[in-house]
Symmetry: C2
Subunit: 449 residues, 2 copies
């Protein structure tokens, strides 16, 4: 037979079983944390009509989209979870209750140039709160607490949430007479971390006709250690700016009630998050020991989720985690906690008799008690049977021979300690359960304090 070489496309993450269990455990924690904040799960199709998905059109993303026809229909794979959300809310607005809080964890597709750590198919984990006409500022203050709880539940410790407000930035540009160049100024400021303040000032002055004094004033403000005080000093000159400062103050004021420790967030006036979409608070999240990775959770407040589909005004606030890339980084940087159980089973039952019924009955009892149990019945040598449990990291092996069956007992071996006890089924279940509790304690990420 002519054989085809099996392969997985480059840019597509495909994990081995142990890693998959670790990935799934992270997804499970995200689902639980998002649910704690009152978000409902959503699942939209991966394929949409191109006309619908590309309603907003254009830009960098369009070239990356997987677009094709089937029959007469022009189809595209979703490239994020925000556009499908906008479609969903516009389409079903009559059946939804606002504010509408949803989370979605799903795959999206972008045909980017393949590159280490870049993926063409990847999971995003999004939450959004959508208001009908208006949405209270408290929602913007709640988001950092969700980011904090999420990463803390995953086990990450050394991270920092960075906040800014787009009204502050836009107000500031107006205040400094830079309204005409605001887009260019924003883009240049975005390079601060990469090229430093000297270079940025040079660009602002030479390329975008910003007066040297203004550029200096702007850069000094953006890099201050006391941003709230510096902003307060400028109040009363521009309405938008004043509103932005008030929003930012409100958000910061409520953070401690929301349980976010002070060393886990800071106001960072250099954060802009793109040009058009966001209109209020914006968020980024940095891994303190890996700034080179960039933000691992970003988002912000917007005024119009679905203006391309409906004349309903739908303001909202949301954040997104690029989960596949995050997982790649965590593995790459040795953050994954490999001590947690990743075996497909908690117990391997090895029948030592010809008639398998007693072993099957025992496995059935273990399963009824909630233990993940595998029955091993392949005709192999004893050493190979034990080797199977060993290779998979199955923590307990149960031998069931004639003697044990007669006595109504089971020989249970803890493979990590080598301790083997002949016990009643109930004793075995209790012992295995307590062993598992110890093995499963701990978070999927291991970070230094």
């Amino acid at each position: 037979m002519d054989r085809i070489k099996p392969r997985t496309l480059s840019g597509f993450m495909e994990l081995l079983p142990q890693r998959q269990v670790q990935f799934d455990r992270m997804v499970e924690i995200l689902r639980k944390t998002y649910a704690l904040y009152g978000f409902t799960p959503l699942d939209t199709p991966a394929i949409e009509a191109s006309e619908v998905l590309l309603a907003k059109g254009g830009g960098e993303t369009e070239k990356q989209i997987y677009r094709f026809t089937k029959g007469d229909t022009d189809l595209s794979l979703r490239f994020d979870l925000t556009v499908p959300l906008a479609k969903y809310v516009a389409l079903h607005s009559g059946e939804l209750t606002f504010p509408f809080r949803r989370f979605q964890i799903g795959k999206v597709y972008r045909g980017e140039r393949a590159q280490r750590g870049r993926f063409r198919e990847f999971y995003q984990a999004d939450i959004d709160v959508i208001g009908d006409g208006s949405l209270d500022i408290v929602n913007e203050a709640e988001i950092p607490s969700i980011i904090y709880q999420t990463f803390t539940a995953l086990g990450l410790k050394r991270f920092q949430i960075r906040l800014n407000n787009r009204k502050v930035l836009n107000g500031l540009f107006a205040l400094l007479g830079l309204e005409a160049q605001s887009a260019d100024v924003m883009r240049t400021i975005d390079k601060l971390e990469k090229i430093g303040p000297e270079k940025v000032k040079e660009l602002l002055v030479n390329d975008f006709a910003v007066p040297a004094e203004t550029a200096g004033q702007l850069l000094e403000l953006l890099s201050t250690d006391q941003p709230m005080e510096a902003l307060a000093a400028l109040k009363g000159k521009n309405e938008l700016f004043d509103r932005g400062v008030e929003e930012l103050s409100t958000v910061v004021q409520y953070l401690s009630a929301f349980g976010v420790p002070e060393d886990h967030y800071k106001v960072d006036l250099t954060i802009a998050r793109g040009l058009d979409y966001y209109t209020g608070t914006v968020y980024e999240t940095a891994m303190l020991d890996h700034p080179e990775i960039g933000s691992i959770c970003s988002g912000g407040r917007y005024d119009n989720l679905a203006e391309y589909y409906t004349n309903k005004q739908l303001p909202g606030v949301g954040i997104s985690i690029g989960l596949t890339r995050l997982f790649f980084v965590l593995e790459d940087q040795k953050y994954l906690n490999d001590d947690l159980l990743t075996a497909p089973a908690d117990v391997l039952v090895l029948p030592m008799t010809e008639d398998l019924s007693p072993a099957i009955t025992l496995a059935t009892r273990f399963r009824a008690a909630g233990l993940r149990t595998q029955l091993y019945t392949e005709r192999k040598k004893f050493k190979q049977k034990i080797g199977y449990a060993d290779k998979l990291g199955i923590p307990y092996v149960v031998f069931l021979g004639e003697d044990e069956i007669q006595a109504g007992l089971a020989a249970v071996k803890d493979l990590s300690t080598g301790e083997q006890l002949t016990q009643s089924v109930d004793e075995a279940i209790a012992r295995i359960r307590s062993g598992l509790a110890a093995r499963n304690a701990g978070a999927p990420i291991r970070d230094r304090d």
Copy 2:
């Protein structure tokens, strides 16, 4: 602005929040049940190289495939989870431990003609056990117990697992001198339920040159109430047949040890499951009150999972549930248990003071206690705020006014009974928890006994 009409493609399931929660609850139960049997979760890409995905080529499916190019690459969306499994096992066989037991729950794509209850994007929930060179028959006996546990955990009661063995069928055809017409005979037998034994006999005799007496003998055997006895009477004449009968006997013998009640399975000699792939036990699962739906969980034993990719012999046994279609049927036939909580939150906190900090602190405490909590801060009338909880089915509302804050208490209302109590936070948490336990008891499917 020119607006695009938002729509979801036909043949693509998109659920409203309440239904999505019900769907997700079913997925969660499947994951848990599969894990109890020692299956590890897997997640492969939705896109594969066409050359790889279509290695086996041809047939009905090929026309339905979503196939397209991106750059120079010929790509296809997966149309089932079996081909990606074959690729995965062939590609990673050196890194896997056999028998390899995996489950996968994921979306697959088939561009079928749109039709009520037929989907182009749908979830399959698969399990497979793959052996390296050989695989013990006990694995074939374990599958019905997994089917039984899965549907029982979902709440379904009136279902029946039907078993057959392909060696029995093929042996029988040889025994009756029908080897040359075996494919045609199999296809005709498949129509038994639809057109009845008279018509089937007619077709066998007239179209496929089966002697009338042989056709009668075959039909009598296939429709007997005592299949194992009828098969036993034919033993000793054909080796393949004898092996099949022995396998079938072994499978049936172990079913009670595996905990499958007798009224939930039967040997049904008319079950064939296609022509080529399966080589041993085959399974179908019928809803007793809805035979028109067809099998809701099917599969079987095969000898060669990945012969198109590798010369390694990989025998296995697996089953698949078409989850999206099943969910559609359950909703359509009013099987979904709408009493279970589907609200996005357990508690809605309504602050009654200007300063929101005490309400935020309370919400933070509830969340720390594991209660799914939403803070409602929109500026609406009191009636609308209560209406929000009501519409979403949020069971508890907490009012936090100046008096409660001073006293360190909270006013907690159970919306289903109307009972409102002013209690300490710990009392409130305990009360809400016990109320939730009662509301969440029960399975997602409600079936009559």
